[in-house]
């Protein structure tokens, strides 16, 4: 009996050890891929790079995607939006110049996510050269240049929005690498951006083989466009002019004709001949704008000033109108922000077609940046003739033609600023434009910003808002409370003490 028992036990043990699954002890995930197995082939590098672009569309923080955040940063503090009954309290606070560090709109995390993806590619892609012999050095350099430019663009948004931010240039790929990082100064960040861009410029490709890829990935022209913008911000006008000229002389881009398909090509279909770099939403990845601007519970409409002062109307002859105004940027009848909602001047997109692209740079932008650089280099007449190109395309009304004296730099610049408001209404550029003009030459034109604030905040907060805006630190958002709590090295912007 006892012997039998031992025999059974032995048999059972043998059975178990033979059939038991050794996979139970494996730690690698079965439904994903880990770093040790990635970075082997050139296809993987490409998909990682495309992943960086994909992160521009889908990432969310506090329920907001990157594009929504960029829109809010670029427009909320400026003068072209009006709140509605559905505007969130946090958004209203920013309109009221009443920003606290607890405001989630000041959460920069979504931008750093993309930056981290870029860092990952920059750090790990070179390994692939050892593993995949078909992967060339040149191809590698192209990919790295592309994401460096993208990283530079992300830091450029950050430096314009927050002033001083931590400069993280290495990937955070494991828990050990989570370390607190102090802020860098504006100059440090900007010089890193310039460095990244000039490293990227020679290696980025001129084309990726298809029109959609050329507009959705950063080409060398995309790098030049970012450079032009960065140099304007840094008040380096000759460099900015040179960057603009590289794009213009390439003869690859042009202004679309201002006819009845203009709106459709530029904003509805996207990837037009005018476009340089776009965030390409599509049916699978919708943009956040439908709920923000569409009629039911929309959070924003256009400020009445947009029709009254930016585009203006010809009250005697309503056939004359600026094509960028009514039916393109907005609906003059009820102030609907139309740029991302319209299929045509009158037909709205259904919700499942809300995939208007977010245009980061387009040719009109390059032209007006060039005009700005020229004006600052005392070439006012040339600047004005470029502005005229943009105005003529758009059939701008005579009422908005300020005809400044070409030798009067300040007036020319003010005219360009106003033209940019017309051309890029609701494209997330207005606040940065006003701030760039206001801060020029040591805040010589602070009045531009103060007047803007005086016209947009509620009457009973006007004087406070103006006095706050006289503090230059107030032009940058606070560091979000959570970041301050978790990273002891961060020091809050002194305005938000």
């Amino acid at each position: 009996m006892r012997r039998n028992f031992i025999l059974y036990i032995l048999l059972l043990t043998m059975l178990l050890s033979a059939t038991s699954c050794d996979r139970w002890l494996e730690l690698q995930p079965q439904d994903g891929i880990i770093k040790q197995e990635f970075w082997k082939t050139k296809e993987q590098v490409q998909s990682a790079v495309i992943g960086c672009y994909a992160s521009l569309l889908g990432n969310t923080t506090s329920g907001r995607t990157l594009v929504e955040q960029l829109f809010l940063w670029g427009e909320l503090r400026a003068d072209m939006l009006s709140p509605t009954l559905s505007t969130l309290a946090e958004e209203q606070d920013i309109i009221n110049v009443n920003i606290l560090p607890s405001n989630t709109i000041a959460n920069w995390r979504v931008v750093y996510k993309t930056i981290n993806y870029c860092n990952t590619v920059i750090d790990f892609a070179p390994e692939v050269l050892n593993n995949d012999k078909t992967f060339s050095e040149k191809a590698l350099n192209g990919y790295v240049a592309e994401v460096k430019a993208l990283r530079a663009l992300m830091y450029f948004y950050l430096v314009r929005t927050f002033g001083e931010v931590p400069l993280k240039l290495t990937p955070t790929s494991s828990d050990e690498e989570i370390t607190p990082l102090a802020k860098s100064t504006k100059t440090e960040i900007l010089s890193q951006i310039v460095k990244d861009l000039s490293e990227a410029e020679p290696n980025t490709l001129l084309t990726y083989g298809s029109n959609a890829a050329d507009k959705g990935r950063i080409t060398r022209y995309g790098v030049n466009a970012i450079q032009a913008d960065v140099y304007l911000w840094m008040e380096k006008y000759a460099e900015s002019l040179a960057a603009c000229d590289k794009i213009i002389k390439a003869n690859r881009f042009g202004l679309l004709e201002g006819n009845n398909v203009w709106f459709n090509q530029l904003f509805v279909v996207g990837n037009s001949n005018e476009s340089i770099f776009e965030f390409q939403f599509d049916r699978q990845k919708l943009n956040p704008f439908y709920t923000m601007f569409s009629t039911v519970r929309r959070r924003f409409i256009a400020h009445p000033m947009v029709m009254e002062e930016v585009y203006t109307q010809d009250f005697n002859d309503d056939t004359k109108k600026d094509i960028r105004g009514d039916g393109a940027s907005l609906q003059s009848t009820d102030g609907t922000i139309w740029k991302y909602l319209g299929l045509s001047a009158t037909v709205a997109r259904p919700v499942e077609e809300s995939y208007a692209h977010w245009i980061a740079y387009r040719y009109a932008d390059v032209l007006l940046m060039k005009a700005e650089a020229l004006a600052m280099l005392n070439r006012g007449q040339e600047a004005l003739s470029i502005v005229k190109l943009v105005r003529d395309r758009a059939k701008a009304l005579d009422g908005t033609n300020l005809s400044p004296d070409p030798t009067d730099t300040d007036s020319v610049m003010e005219f360009i600023l106003k033209e940019r408001a017309r051309e890029f209404a609701f494209e997330g550029k207005r606040w940065y434009d006003v701030l760039r003009h206001a801060k020029r030459n040591n805040y010589k034109r602070l009045d531009l910003l103060l007047n803007m604030v005086a016209n947009t905040v509620p009457a009973d907060r006007q004087q406070s808002a103006i006095a706050k805006s006289k503090d230059f630190n107030s032009h940058y958002l606070p560091i979000f409370e959570y970041e301050i709590q978790t990273n002891r090295k961060l020091i809050q912007n002194p305005f938000y003490k």
Binding site: L100, F315, D460, Q462, Q463, K470, K497
Partner: protein
């Protein structure tokens, strides 16, 4: 036996040793729900910053309640701030101040609710301090740095510190309550000597010099004073000039006297800082039934800047720099211009309700096409729900004024608006007959819609029935029945004006007229005009053409 005792001894020894070893290491049970300290304890943690103020709290006995459950906003001066204050009042230490003085001081620093800097506006804080005076918020910029200020006495150096029972704002100076009444504040200012004299001669100085606790509506008063310079510009070099010009009865103490009214017209009930002045469009004054209107243009605060009968009347500017002065019983502002009650005769208002700024901004529609106004998209017209339609047409059977009118779905049914309200143009005080002028239409043959009209909430005597034509008869007969034909031919009975009542407008201001359906309902209520015609004037002429002409 001995053996068992020994065993017992050993056993108990072991037991003791065991208990000693494993005995309860105290388990830390958390009994509090939060580790946040309350306001007073928070201050106690940083004696290097707040010891002076915590000493004051200790002495006044307020320490305990600031450490108890509740919701407080406290403004805490730092030690340096308290020292600055002591220096200013000539004391060396807070012990030299009496407990009552300190209590008053502390009360001014506490508000019984939580206020973050979000609720700081240009004027007073939304809630009153425990002392009973409002604090005046603001922002100033010094050396490139902006910070919130309170009462123009202290800047806020640290904001929105959350403690267990409220919010702490750290300030760099002690807040001091206003000590003077409005009257004294005016008297003190040599620039306001003529105005002071006028106050004294009219007996109003005394009413501005007391804190009226009996009548809470007069607890706070706001005065808009005029400087000697302003008065000189208007031709008054001394008080006698002013008296000569305005005092029609010769006795300024008389409430009917124009000088008395002039002074009363400069006094508004309530504590109204400039931020409060501009958030309402008109304010009553102590002059019976007279209002001042106010608005903000760019950055200027304007009083009595009105459009009257199509003519712009420029107003006076309030000087921001010298205004917003707190007093114990009110606020003092200084006007840069001379302003008086405007003597106006009632004039008829032939008001085209289909002409308002929002439709004028749509040149593609205004007097060209129909347009639906979405709910809440017109500033001066409010209605219950859905949209109302601006209609323009050329049909010969709709000869409305300028060819346009408003079509307002009204009715007692749930699908339609029960009511619609319009803000009228400026009406001069006086007695008017009110005519609602519409183009008769029935949505279907059985439709009926009876609407009651009310002005500022007062119902008028006669309803308007949009589904009724005017009756037949001569103009005189019709007028006697309360009807008129208002379109240019004067024969179209579909173009009916209905006299809905006589109103007594008591203040020269914009008023609110409301149409509310009380029976039936339909969509085709075609409202074209509303006439306010002074009762002694011709009620049936002029008539109105579709080309915009007036036919006498």
């Amino acid at each position: 036996m001995k053996q068992s005792i020994r065993t017992l001894l050993w056993a108990s020894l072991w037991a003791v040793a065991l208990v000693y070893v494993v005995s309860c290491t105290k388990i830390d049970l958390v009994e509090t729900t939060t580790t946040d300290v309350n306001t007073y304890s928070y201050l106690k943690k940083m004696p290097e910053k707040f010891s002076e103020f915590t000493n004051i709290l200790d002495r006044t006995g307020y320490a305990s309640f600031l450490d108890a459950y509740g919701a407080y906003t406290t403004f805490i001066p730092t030690n340096d701030g308290v020292k600055k204050y002591l220096q200013a009042v000539g004391k060396n230490s807070t012990t030299q101040l009496s407990v009552d003085e300190l209590k008053d001081l502390v009360k001014l620093h506490i508000i019984q609710d939580t206020l973050t800097t979000k609720s700081f506006k240009d004027g007073k804080l939304p809630l009153v301090t425990m002392y009973g005076q409002y604090l005046l918020a603001g922002v100033t910029n010094a050396n490139g740095t902006s910070s919130y200020t309170l009462n123009r006495q202290a800047s806020v150096t640290e904001t929105n510190i959350v403690t267990g029972n409220g919010i702490v704002h750290v300030i760099d100076n002690v807040l001091q309550p206003a000590k003077l009444t409005v009257a004294k504040l005016i008297e003190q200012n040599a620039e306001l000597s003529i105005f002071t004299e006028a106050l004294k001669q009219t007996g109003l100085f005394d009413s501005l010099n007391v804190i009226n606790v009996k009548d809470p509506s007069r607890r706070w008063l706001t005065v808009v004073a005029e400087t000697n310079k302003t008065l000189a510009k208007a031709g008054f070099n001394n008080f006698n000039d002013l008296k000569k010009r305005y005092s029609n009865t010769g006795n300024p103490l008389n409430k009917e006297d124009s000088l008395n009214l002039y002074v009363r017209y400069h006094i508004l009930p309530g504590a109204k800082y400039l931020a409060d002045v501009i958030t309402a469009t008109s304010h009553t004054t102590l002059a019976p039934l007279e209002v001042v209107t106010s608005k903000l243009e760019e950055q200027a605060v304007l009083l009595n800047d009105d459009e009257f009968n199509g003519v712009r009347e420029p107003g006076v500017v309030i000087d921001r720099a010298t205004s917003d002065n707190s007093a114990t019983n009110g606020v003092l502002h200084v006007s840069q211009g001379h302003f008086v009650i405007k003597v106006r005769k009632p004039v008829p208002i032939y008001w085209d309700v289909a002409d308002f700024p929002e439709i004028r901004k749509l040149p593609a529609y205004f007097r060209k096409k129909n347009y639906d106004f979405a709910y809440a998209s017109v500033k001066d017209i409010t209605w219950e729900k859905n949209s109302i339609t601006y209609v323009w047409g050329t049909s010969a059977s709709f000869p409305t004024y300028w060819g346009d009118y408003l079509m307002v779905p009204l009715g007692t049914q749930a699908a339609r608006n029960l009511w619609i309200e319009f803000k009228t143009p400026m009406l001069v005080k006086g007695r008017y007959k009110v005519w609602v002028c519409y183009r008769y239409q029935r949505q279907s043959s059985g439709s009926t819609n009876v609407c009651q009209v009310s002005l500022d909430g007062e119902p008028l005597t006669r309803p308007v029935i949009f589904t009724d034509q005017a009756p037949a008869g001569t103009a005189g007969e019709l007028e006697a029945l309360g009807w008129k034909l208002f379109s240019d031919t004067g024969t179209d009975r579909n173009m009916a004006g209905r006299m809905v009542g006589t109103v007594n407008i008591t203040t020269t201001d914009r008023h609110t007229i409301r149409l509310q359906s009380i029976s039936g309902g339909q969509n085709n209520n075609n409202l074209d005009m509303i006439h306010f015609i002074p009762i002694e004037m011709n009620q049936i002429s002029p008539r109105f053409g579709r080309d915009g002409s007036l036919i006498k």
